[in-house]
């Protein structure tokens, strides 16, 4: 191949002009003739039986076209096959404040709002579950009539080698409990959709979704329609971060209403409703028991996690596995046990947020490594460098590590930050902290297990010289359209501007599973390359015949196809397409991508495999005022093993955006709840469902960020590229915590790290107590099953479990394989 002309070049993204002129058409910008407007009536109770819904007054109001209740939606749906536990409108029970019970479609939003107020709902309040401890302790009343037992949604237990033996034989044992508070995506765009019946009578839904393919499936099921008669168009998302990855109530209701009324129906959620949709970061309590040799090598890790799932399943079964999946891909862990438990509570459902399930346990692991390094008097960077997982290896839990640039990432941030001169050496109140991470470049298995491709690309070339690339991938701001165009343009030797992208439309584009799990660049990119190479073959054969030049000598570059040995001898790209069209007829090619099979053969082994993993290291500098606990972050140095940057401008933006979002999680963002006073029903409500009160960093809060992209092309990626959208977020929270310790000598073992918590730890230290703020203990009453025993590869294992799971009277774990592939 010739030197890349597009790949790796800093470029204006292909959709930049639309974005800077305000012409990008987001879902709420879709305006159709005769369009009506819908609103949802949401429950004011966190947990209640619906006794009666009276819609008569609302229905009679002028301008109201339709009022719907749960009766209209008998069929349940959900993102995972194992937890189809949602109805578009609640039928019998509401499970959190914000759960929708009725819908109004009217001539405008104002009329719809007035009609909502006229709907009378009688509720019978039920006991409310506010915390995982509460849900573990009380099996009744059950929030759902499915799940492992009582209000426990999911319990998983996996053991890779004899961990107790490994820890017993260690020189030191570290036993730490951490807590990661929940937080939410806060995309600037509020979820919106427009449903309509096309002139043929088929359903069309425009929606701000990251996963049009899954919305397509959910609509087919919930509305009992053939999928082939439904078209889902993902409008460009105004930010997603995982928050638009589930099928949502308003999408199903809008679709039903449009079919009933034969008119377009729009729903645009308020910001408060976006907080109720949530599907954000699970609050996770975790306990790490880790055996360590005196020279700082890990002998075994025993991890327990407890996830507060909120009121519905969402991606939760997968999230549970993800809290324990990726610990092994960064560092050598010879033996590993992971037990995870997700409970239902009466709060908005948690789901996948950037990093899906992995940032919480990554926080615990990286803070514990800092404690280990401190205790053993080993530099935290050296401790990690000594145990970096080897390239092209299998982990204890049978994840296949490909290329790994982690050591280079660590060395890079150590050098750039002046770590050796700063760590442990700065004056009181100033410190630096280091942490690392890894993330999937796409989940190895689909949500709905099958043998079908995860991403498909079709190319159309015609005598105009134009190339159109069709792919189901969804542009959520990350630049997926740009990656698609860049890959095609590079292979065909034409300018990106000469390729048109048509994406995220289930009628027009081949299936791509969606913008989650950092899968798009790798999977769509590989599919695009295959389609483009097939087109190049056709053009080369035609040009070769026409010019009588051997195909092997033809070069595609700069909009021409020419003889590499006599560059003047060639055709323009347009002429080449004409030659091919004349020779073969209409030119269309396809490409598809299916990830390699995982060596894991045990139940639950489907969560974690990826074609390749990205790696990141970060050093964060902090300044802590010991008087007030106020914490500021002047600088972040970050190095990310990206394999190859398709477009460095966008790659840098993903890294900086991850640092930003990580700092928000580290310092201020929390999805917290409170009880209303008794005179107001004692309902469990969102503490602050508004942007003003849900604090997120502004332009004034951002530190200097020094970014290094580590580029060693990975054979699994398109042009060697790995993911960049999620991994760089992960080290930020633990690096901040470790820097706080370096600055003032106290541990904040939970996120967010607030001035109040720092002061509390400083006060404890001054009183001679442990210099720490954090959770006291991990609960003892989780009903763990006997773990599946899987022998690690180096102890002669073959990836299978040596036992089957003891069911201990619980329902058979049907469908676990199906959930295993889920990711964020």
């Amino acid at each position: 191949m010739t030197t890349p002309r597009t790949i790796g070049q800093p470029r204006r993204r292909v959709d930049a002009r639309a974005k800077v002129t305000g012409q990008t058409r987001f879902a709420d910008d879709v305006l159709l003739p005769r369009m009506l407007h819908g609103r949802l009536l949401r429950s004011p109770h966190p947990h209640a039986r619906i006794v009666r819904v009276d819609t008569s007054r609302a229905t009679a109001m002028p301008g109201v076209h339709l009022v719907l209740t749960g009766d209209a939606f008998p069929v349940a749906y959900g993102i995972l096959p194992v937890s189809h536990d949602e109805h578009a409108l609640c039928r019998d029970v509401v499970r959190f404040v914000g759960d929708p019970v009725a819908a109004v479609v009217a001539r405008d939003e104002a009329t719809a709002n007035e009609a909502l107020a006229a709907i009378a709902v009688e509720y019978e309040p039920l006991r409310t579950f506010a915390s995982p401890e509460d849900s573990l302790a009380h099996a009744e009343p059950r929030i759902h009539d499915y799940g492992d037992v009582g209000n426990i949604h999911k319990v998983v237990a996996l053991e890779f080698g004899d961990v107790d033996e490994a820890i017993a034989g260690a020189d030191h044992v570290f036993d730490d409990v951490f807590f990661f508070e929940g937080n939410t995506h806060l995309p600037l765009e509020q979820h919106a959709c427009v449903a309509t019946k096309d002139p043929d009578g088929k359903l069309v839904l425009y929606s701000s979704t990251q996963t049009p393919h899954y919305v397509h499936r959910a609509l087919a099921k919930a509305l009992d329609l053939p999928a082939a008669h439904i078209r889902v168009i993902a409008t460009p998302n105004g930010g997603g971060f995982g928050g638009k990855s589930d099928p949502f109530n308003h999408e199903v209701v809008a679709a039903k209403a449009a079919l009933l009324l034969d008119r377009p129906v729009k729903f645009c959620l308020t910001r408060e409703e976006v907080f109720y949709c949530h599907r954000g970061r699970h609050p996770v309590l975790m306990r790490f028991r880790t055996g360590v040799t005196k020279d700082g090598r890990l002998t075994g890790v025993d991890l327990r996690t407890l996830l507060d799932g909120g009121a519905y399943g969402s991606y939760g079964a997968a999230s549970t596995f993800y809290t324990g999946a990726l610990q092994t891909v960064t560092y050598q862990i010879p033996r590993y046990r992971f037990r995870g438990c997700r409970v239902f509570t009466n709060k908005p459902p948690c789901g996948p947020k950037r990093g899906h399930g992995t940032p919480q346990a990554r926080f615990g692991q990286e803070v514990q490594l800092d404690k280990i390094a401190h205790h053993l008097a080993i530099d935290p960077a050296d401790l990690r460098l000594n145990i970096v997982a080897p390239a092209d290896s299998l982990t204890a839990n049978y994840l296949k590590v490909g290329t790994i640039g982690l050591a280079e990432c660590i060395r890079t941030v150590v050098d750039r930050s002046g770590w050796r001169e700063k760590h442990g050496r700065l004056p009181h109140g100033r410190g630096v902290g280091l942490a690392c991470s890894s993330y999937l470049s796409g989940a190895g298995l689909p949500i709905n297990w099958n043998d079908l491709p995860h991403s498909g690309v079709q190319l159309k070339l015609d005598r105009s010289g134009g190339v159109t690339a069709f792919c189901g991938a969804t542009e959520i701001g990350q630049g997926s359209d740009d990656v698609l165009v860049a890959c095609v343009a590079e292979v065909l030797g034409i300018a990106p501007f000469d390729v048109r992208a048509v994406t995220g439309d289930t009628d027009l584009t081949p299936v791509d599973l969606g913008s989650y799990s950092s899968r798009v660049t790798l999977m769509m990119g590989n599919a695009a390359i295959q389609a483009a190479e097939r087109a190049r073959e056709l053009l080369a054969e035609a040009v070769s015949a026409k010019l009588e030049v051997p195909q092997a000598r033809l070069t595609f570059a700069e909009g021409r196809v020419f003889d590499a040995e006599a560059p003047d001898r060639g055709l323009t790209f347009r002429e080449a397409v004409c030659a091919a069209e004349a020779r073969f007829g209409t030119i269309g090619t396809t490409g598809s991508y299916t990830p390699p099979k995982s060596p894991a053969r045990f139940k639950g082994g489907g969560v974690g495999p990826s074609p390749t993993y990205s790696y990141t290291a970060a050093v964060v500098a902090v300044e802590v005022d010991p008087e007030t606990g106020w914490i500021t972050v002047p600088t972040v140095w970050i190095a990310h093993d990206i394999g190859r940057a398709i477009n460095p401008v966008l790659a840098r933006g993903q890294v900086e955006g991850s640092v930003y979002m990580g700092l928000g999680e580290a310092l201020m963002e929390e999805q917290a709840f409170r009880r209303l006073p008794p005179r107001l029903s004692r309902a469990l409500v969102h503490k602050f469902p508004s942007i003003l009160e849900y604090k997120s960093p502004t332009s004034l809060d951002m530190p200097e960020i020094v970014t290094d992209l580590i580029e060693h092309p990975d054979p699994a990626g398109p042009f060697g590229a790995k993911e960049v959208g999620q991994g760089p977020l992960l080290p930020i929270m633990p690096a901040v915590a470790n820097a706080v310790f370096d600055a003032v000598g106290v541990r904040v073992d939970e996120v967010p790290i607030t001035p109040e918590k720092i002061l509390k730890a400083l006060a404890a230290k001054a009183a001679g107590k442990p210099a720490r703020t954090g959770p006291a203990a991990y609960p003892e009453n989780v009903p763990w099953p006997e773990p599946l025993h899987v022998t690690p590869p180096w102890e002669g294992g073959d990836g299978r479990a040596s036992n089957t799971r003891a069911s201990s009277g619980r329902k058979a774990d049907a469908g676990i394989e199906a959930t295993a592939g889920v990711k964020s």
Binding site: T21, S699, I705
Partner: protein
């Protein structure tokens, strides 16, 4: 609630507008719904996020908090009015080239706020830019590429828009190697 139309005359992006609007409607709603100028966005409709910023008589305001009737007789400029004579404004060029728009949802509000800043202060420092944009939330970028784009646009405007406008296909200018983003030092 839906009674009570009010006559509203104003200038939007240089064009006179004369229409009857619901008296309760915000300027944001009239721009998006009555005039179909959907380039102006909303993220909260409570004055918290900055996505709906437009210029009213040159001042950036949150259009979600202003009643449309308050704009009677005013000159309103939205993102649709940034392009002049078929050419992108230097701010738009710089945002496009430097990755300042990821999802693009906060972009119109930020562009209008930055435009007001540059109209008043042609050579703002990075600190001044951060201050001016601190009411505009962006969840994608981490703000650095936005601040750099505003700086670049200021430089391009100073050098003369004509010579500073790259073609649609121009590359950018991100230097190879480490990319320190300007922050507080």
């Amino acid at each position: 609630m839906t009674d009570g139309k009010v006559r509203l005359r104003l200038e939007v992006n240089g064009e006179p507008v004369d229409l009857l609007v619901d008296g309760y409607k915000t300027l944001l709603e009239v721009l998006r719904e009555d005039l179909q100028l959907t380039g102006t966005k909303h993220g909260c409709e409570l004055g918290e996020c900055g996505a709906c910023a437009v210029l009213v008589d040159g001042e950036p305001i949150l259009s979600c908090l202003a009643l449309a009737v308050e704009s009677e007789g005013a000159r309103v400029r939205t993102v649709e009015g940034l392009v002049e004579h078929g050419r992108l404004h230097p701010l738009q060029e710089a945002f496009a080239d430097r990755g300042a728009a990821q999802c693009g949802y906060c972009t119109p509000g930020i562009l209008m706020t930055a435009r007001a800043l540059l109209d008043r202060e042609p050579s703002p420092t990075p600190e001044r830019i951060r201050e001016a944009l601190s009411g505009n939330l962006c969840r994608c970028t981490g703000y650095h590429q936005i601040v750099e784009a505003v700086e670049a646009a200021a430089a391009a405007l100073a050098a003369g828009a004509a010579s500073a406008t790259p073609s649609a296909e121009s590359g950018v200018a991100t230097p190879a190697g480490p990319t320190p983003a300007g922050g507080r030092r």
